[in-house]
């Protein structure tokens, strides 16, 4: 294996393209961004993910120059960009509403930014044609924005914001207005274009699936703070808090008290009359410390009998079944009323399904399947 993995954030020598340095943004009495520091590297596809009102859009608007930080600085390529107005920044933005100019043709929309730079006519025409090719819009060049479909408008918005070859492209919920099928195709198109142009992309989204699909790194935000910044797989497999675990994907959270039981292994006492659960964790817990055991439903195995070698096994009965076609999620109620979700792939036809409502079942998982979280 000689392929170098793209991970500048792990290289201490790498110089970040964007640096948020203790940035705070207040609107009146409301703090939208709270003393936040973050590095984003060149050629990254960086996703800001969070519920609405978490401050992700404010971050983006500060990068574009529409808002100024109340405290702290934002550096772009080592330069403090706070005093630079939006029209002088090497940053372009793709707006959530696309913000296409309705009175201009697709061609003129894409040429708009280039004309402001007084680009020579020949170069300008070449660049616009190149953008049209990149986004497969050649045949729509003469149309007005209202004469094309939603998916095409989205591509025009992308072409227009990429035309000036910005150092940094900001995408504000770029696929929010598209239907699910089109959105999935467009996600891969976006990744493709990002790779082809080598531009740094920062995307704002509330759709965790979208963030996981497109991004090289994801920042999960809540109430103006960064909860975790990591690659999609680390965010999913190693969330650092209950909030992140719960926000990304589906998860079972079991509260309990940890007791050390060998090297990096802990016993979790979680309910009266239930045998303790075993989990590994690299972060240390003191004996008796309260903790949360987070376990993904697909890592829980459901079976009729207690598996002989299972380290963690609990008994319950099937309370509900969510049939998703390829998968089924079983909601299993334990004796003390706790509901644990277990997911299994439907490798057989539904008529051959082994469990149905009210069936007594066993749930089991390995010691490494769950993540032990302090809060």
């Amino acid at each position: 294996m000689n392929t170098t993995v793209f991970a500048p954030w792990e290289d201490p020598q790498a110089k970040p393209l964007i640096q948020f340095q203790n940035v705070t943004k207040r609107f009146g009495g409301f703090t939208a961004i709270d003393n936040l520091s973050l590095d984003i590297f060149e050629k990254e596809f960086f996703a800001l993910l969070g519920p609405s009102g978490c401050g992700k859009t404010t971050m983006m608007r500060m990068l574009a120059g529409f808002e100024k930080p109340s405290d702290g600085h934002i550096m772009l390529g080592g330069q403090d960009i706070d005093p630079i107005p939006p029209n002088k920044r090497a940053v372009n933005m793709m707006f959530q509403s696309y913000a296409l100019f309705p009175h201009l043709s697709i061609w003129e929309n894409i040429a708009f930014g280039l004309r402001r730079d007084n680009m020579p006519k020949r170069d300008l025409e070449d660049r616009v044609e190149e953008m049209l090719r990149l986004t497969r819009l050649e045949q729509f060049a003469r149309r007005k924005p209202h004469q094309i479909s939603g998916g095409q408008r989205q591509r025009v918005a992308l072409a227009r914001s990429l035309a000036k070859a910005p150092k940094l492209l900001l995408l504000d919920e770029p696929l929010g207005a598209l239907d699910k099928k089109l959105r999935q195709d467009t996600q891969f198109e976006l990744m493709d274009i990002q790779e082809k142009t080598g531009t740094t992309f920062v995307i704002v989204t509330h759709d965790q699936e979208e963030a996981m699909t497109v991004a090289s790194r994801v920042a999960v935000m809540d109430q103006g703070k960064l909860m975790q910044v990591a690659t999609p797989d680390r965010i999913y497999e190693n969330p650092n808090s209950v909030y992140v675990a719960d926000f990304i994907g589906d998860v079972n959270i079991i509260e309990g008290r940890a007791t050390a039981n060998g090297d990096e292994t802990y016993q979790v006492d979680w309910a009266e009359g239930q045998s303790p659960l075993t989990a590994t964790s690299s972060t240390g817990f003191t004996n008796g410390q309260s903790c949360h055991l987070a376990i993904r439903p697909e890592k829980v195995t459901i079976s009729a009998d207690r598996p002989a070698d299972a380290i963690n096994a609990v008994q319950g009965k099937v309370h509900d079944i969510a049939y998703l076609g390829n998968l089924s999620t079983y909601h299993v109620e334990l004796a003390n009323g706790t509901i644990i979700k277990a997911q299994s792939a439907n490798t057989r036809r539904i008529s051959r399904r082994s469990f149905t409502w009210e069936d007594p079942v066993w749930l089991s998982w390995t010691a490494t399947a769950a993540v032990l979280l302090a809060n």
Binding site: P86, N87, N92, H103, Q152, S161
Partner: protein, 272 residues
Amino acid sequence: MNRLSWFNTVSLTLGFAFLYIPMVILIIYSFNESKLVTVWAGFSTKWYGELAQNEAFLNAAWVTIRVAVFSSTLATILGTAAAYVLVRGGRFFGRTLFSGMIYAPLVMPEVITGLSLLLLFIGIGLDRGILTIVLAHTTFSMCFVSVVVSSRLVTFDKSLEEAALDLGCSPAQAFRLVTLPIIAPAVISGWLLAFTLSLDDLVIASFTSGPSATTLPIKIFSAVRLGVSPEINALSTIMIAVVTVGVIAASLVTKRAMVRQKQDELAAARTE
């Protein structure tokens, strides 16, 4: 097509009769041969010929048009600027007061507006003439423009302006290249409104006009006091014709644009 019930037919007829019979009578009598306005003596267009010879009326018409063009243009510039600041300026000090004050002239009795302008012009020693009428008309029609334009600006997607800034426009360029072309229909209808307000204003013009400049409404009003002449009927008929053609043309243009937009959107949805 639905057939109307007899009740609806009657109410429609009555309503339109109420609106249009006076004008129809005026138009009919403008083609009267007789000099007596109320006696019909056969069809003739001679009063239109007489009108074309009447220096005083032609002068007044020329003054009116010039006043209307200048004042509505000035009012459009000022009214658009005011609307832009009030809608886009954010929450600056005194914003509520200003936005209230811009609408006050709409409900102010014209007599008062006219009188206060007269006092001002006398106070600063400005001779009454075309200039004073233009200023006076600008004053009262700019708030109409600002109402029309600000109602458009409120629904204007602000991210269009931000996109223009983001793509390298200065704020002034963003306004000229993006905002203005998009709100142009509202600005034009504001201009047309100001233009017609200026054309038919009698009260304010009579306060602010001088012996050197008389507008058409003042001329007609003073002529009628000496007795209604068939010439006035002819003049009024011409004005009605001009206004009618203007209104019909404007609505046809708007309707065609709307139909085309709808077709385009349907076609776009099909290519999805």
